[in-house]
């Protein structure tokens, strides 16, 4: 599915990703943890093709294609999804309109016709229920005046609608109350299948009680410094990151 080899990236002349390796196979869930400023969000942005990052080395293969060679929208169209750590507002553009434009753009890239408005509204309402977001959020501007938790649920709504192949969730659990955390976990677990993979960035091992990962990685100073199973998260919870740095050093 995704194979990252020795990825290096700079922003504003500052090296953030520094030889990062990661392989994600179909159906796997990888959790990425690591201290603030380690480069976790940067990894998500670079994979999703955000402008302003300069890839200075390495390669990324996504489903047999050179990911780094694709435009951001192409990456999305070929099934890569990023749930943002800080979702942005687009005033005046209704959520419904935005979601339909998105679904239609992705359908178009696969040679499918746009959905009829009726079908789409029905689908969008269903998905709203799944993420426990009242339907009037469809009429409001994209993230306009949404609370922190509502924004995160809106990200999840988009993921449920687009049914991507690879979902990168950047701290989707941060700032959520316990019920909302359950909703996010249920959403992810509902989408989990042998073809779909997840990269879940989180600071809290608690999320991993709900979304049980196949692997846990520690990202520090722009590279993965330790990988393990579910139990690694528990150790991190107990001991923090310091001991790994020492171990690696």
């Amino acid at each position: 599915m995704l194979n990252i080899k020795n990825l290096q990236a700079k922003v504003e002349e500052k090296t953030i990703l520094n030889g990062l390796n990661l392989e994600v196979k179909p159906g796997e869930v990888h959790a990425i943890m690591g201290p603030n400023g380690a480069g976790k969000s940067t990894l998500g942005h670079v994979l999703a093709g955000r402008d302003g990052y300069e890839v200075t080395g390495g390669e990324v293969d996504f489903e047999g294609r050179d990911l780094l060679d694709m435009e951001a929208e192409e990456r999305a169209q070929s099934g890569l999804f990023l749930a943002f750590q800080y979702p942005v507002e687009i005033p005046g553009v209704s959520n419904m309109e935005f979601l339909k434009a998105s679904v239609d753009a992705i359908r178009a890239s696969r040679g499918q016709d746009a959905m009829t408005s009726m079908d789409f509204i029905k689908l969008a309402r269903e998905r709203c229920k799944a993420v426990d977001l009242p339907q009037d959020f469809l009429k409001r501007g994209v993230n306009e005046g949404f609370s922190g938790g509502e924004k995160k649920r809106n990200e999840l709504l988009q993921m449920m609608l687009l049914e991507p192949k690879l979902c990168i969730l950047d701290e989707t659990d941060s700032g959520l109350d316990i019920d909302a955390l359950q909703v996010v976990a249920d959403g992810v677990n509902a989408l989990r299948n042998p073809e779909r993979s997840f990269i879940v960035v989180t600071h809290y091992q608690r999320l991993l009680d709900y979304i049980v990962p196949d692997y846990v990685h520690v990202l520090s100073k722009g590279r993965i410094i330790k990988s393990g199973g579910r139990e690694l998260a528990l150790e991190l919870e107990k001991h923090g990151y310091g001991w790994i740095d020492e171990e690696v050093a």
Binding site: G49, D51, A76
Partner: protein
């Protein structure tokens, strides 16, 4: 004389002097004889000629306004030709194959059917197409309601009393430089009269009149809504029309008598010039409405065209409890310059006005909002609310706001809000990450920004206006 005008003259008037009264073009230049000639060609009555001459004499004394935030070479008014009748069928393109492909591409994007494309592009088509049948049923319906909708030239002959009474009653001949010029040489335009208590049975659109007259450079429109009547008028259509005139100076006058309601919507999409700022139309318009007791005048406009725009649709709220509204979207790209806004003059008691102005600037363009809210001593309890938002795309463009507030009545309330925002990288990335390409993303964000204005437009106009913004913004990203 500027090079642009030079060029324009070369291409246009190579034929030189033409003397025959019925012929195509009056030679360049402006003097009283030219005005007499225009009037004679239109077989106008003496009073109309006198009216024009009075305007001309006033114009001679006037100066071109300089205060607008626009720069352009000063037109040489003696080098322009002031009357030109429609080109004959032989002179027009004979089929769409002969029309500028760039123009056709725009039509296609706007989804305009082929036969309408032909009309818009000025192809010599037989006008028998649907407009005749549409036109006839439509005329009959209006006639049954007692509504008069014809060209202003026709009105001068058929309804001289109405024209005499109201022409220049809102925009006097010597109101300003361009209005005076228009009054002296106006070519044609629309005339509407809605009788007392009548709700006009359909939206009136200049579109229905496209084939009738090439109203051209100095268009003159007069709309009178008699007591308790109601009308919605749509000016222009969203497709850019082929147009040879570089300077446009139109005048629109609206009269809303007691309890009347006029809604005037414009979508203006004239040639803005190319990406280097060459060519394009200079548009200097005077639009004003007079609102009597309890009446309402609402201006809605979406402007994406013209190289230079100078335009301030205004309301004189003379009657007590009258209402003025101005909803505007002005988009500039490339090297376009727009200085637009409105004037709300509150004279009567409890008069109310609302101004929602949205300016979008892309590339190297300059977009200015200029608005005056004036509360006269008699405007007891009057209120104004102004909201003025600018959206910037890229960092080479400019947005400026010039609000003027004059309040001479302590009970009057004036509220003004202004914002400036940018289409942010974060917004663009969000859209792209959801599979939406950058051009579509910008147009979606811009449409969202304009929502408060678009919802004031008649339904199908709103959809077209959205598409138009998309076409106008092409190449504005990246």
């Amino acid at each position: 004389m500027s090079e642009q005008f030079d060029q324009y003259l070369k291409s246009e008037y190579a034929a030189g002097w033409v003397t025959d009264v019925e012929s195509l073009t009056i030679p360049p230049g402006l003097n009283e004889d030219v005005i007499r000639l225009i009037s004679a060609k239109k077989h106008e009555p003496e009073w109309m000629l006198e009216w024009r001459l009075k305007a001309y004499r006033g114009w001679l004394e006037m100066q071109e306004p300089k205060w607008a935030h626009v720069k352009y070479p000063k037109p040489d008014f003696q080098a322009l030709s002031y009357y030109s009748s429609p080109k004959s069928m032989e002179d027009r393109p004979q089929s769409l194959d002969e029309v500028d492909p760039e123009l056709l591409r725009t039509y296609e994007k706007l989804g305009i059917p082929v036969h309408e494309q032909e009309v818009l592009a000025g192809v010599a088509v037989d006008m028998v197409f649907d407009s005749v049948s549409v036109g006839t049923t439509f005329r009959q319906k209006l006639k049954d309601a007692g509504v008069i909708f014809c060209s202003i030239s026709e009105a001068v002959h058929e309804y001289p009393e109405l024209v005499k009474k109201y022409l220049g009653s809102v925009v006097p001949q010597k109101d300003n430089f361009y209005a005076a010029l228009n009054s002296a040489v106006f070519s044609d335009g629309s005339f509407v009269y809605i009788p007392k208590g009548v709700r006009c049975p359909m939206e009136l659109s200049t579109y229905f009149r496209i084939n009738e007259a090439k109203t051209g450079q100095f268009e003159r429109t007069l709309i009178i809504a008699d007591e308790g009547s109601q009308v919605s008028y749509l000016e222009g259509c969203t497709a850019p029309m082929r147009d040879e005139n570089q300077l446009h100076a139109a005048v629109v006058e609206l009269v809303a008598l007691d309890d009347a309601d006029i809604k005037y919507s414009t979508v203006q999409n004239w040639y803005p010039g190319d990406e280097n700022g060459k060519g394009g139309i200079y548009n200097f318009v005077t639009k004003r409405g007079l609102a009597m007791n309890r009446s309402k005048i609402s201006w809605t406009q979406v402007e994406t065209g013209s190289a230079v725009t100078w335009k301030y649709p205004s309301c004189i709220l003379k009657g007590d409890d009258s209402i003025g509204e101005f909803y505007s979207v002005a988009l500039t790209s490339n090297y376009q310059q727009a200085d637009t806004g409105t004037k709300m003059i509150h004279l009567g008691k409890n008069t109310r006005s609302t101004i929602i102005a949205k300016g979008i600037s892309a590339k190297n363009s300059e977009n200015s909002y200029r608005g005056l809210v004036k509360m006269n001593p008699g405007a007891e309890g009057a209120r104004n609310y102004t909201q003025c938002d600018s959206l910037l795309i890229g960092d080479q463009c400019g947005a400026h706001t010039f609000p003027y507030i004059e309040s001479k009545n302590p009970t009057a309330v004036v509220e003004h809000e202004a914002t400036t925002s940018k289409v942010s990288d974060d917004q663009m990335f969000l859209c792209q990450q959801r599979g939406i390409d950058p051009e579509k993303a910008v147009s979606m964000i811009v449409n969202g920004f304009c929502k408060d204005v678009f919802k004031e437009l008649p339904m199908e106009f709103a959809v077209e206006a959205g598409k138009l913004l998309e076409v106008s913004l092409e190449g504005a990203v990246g």
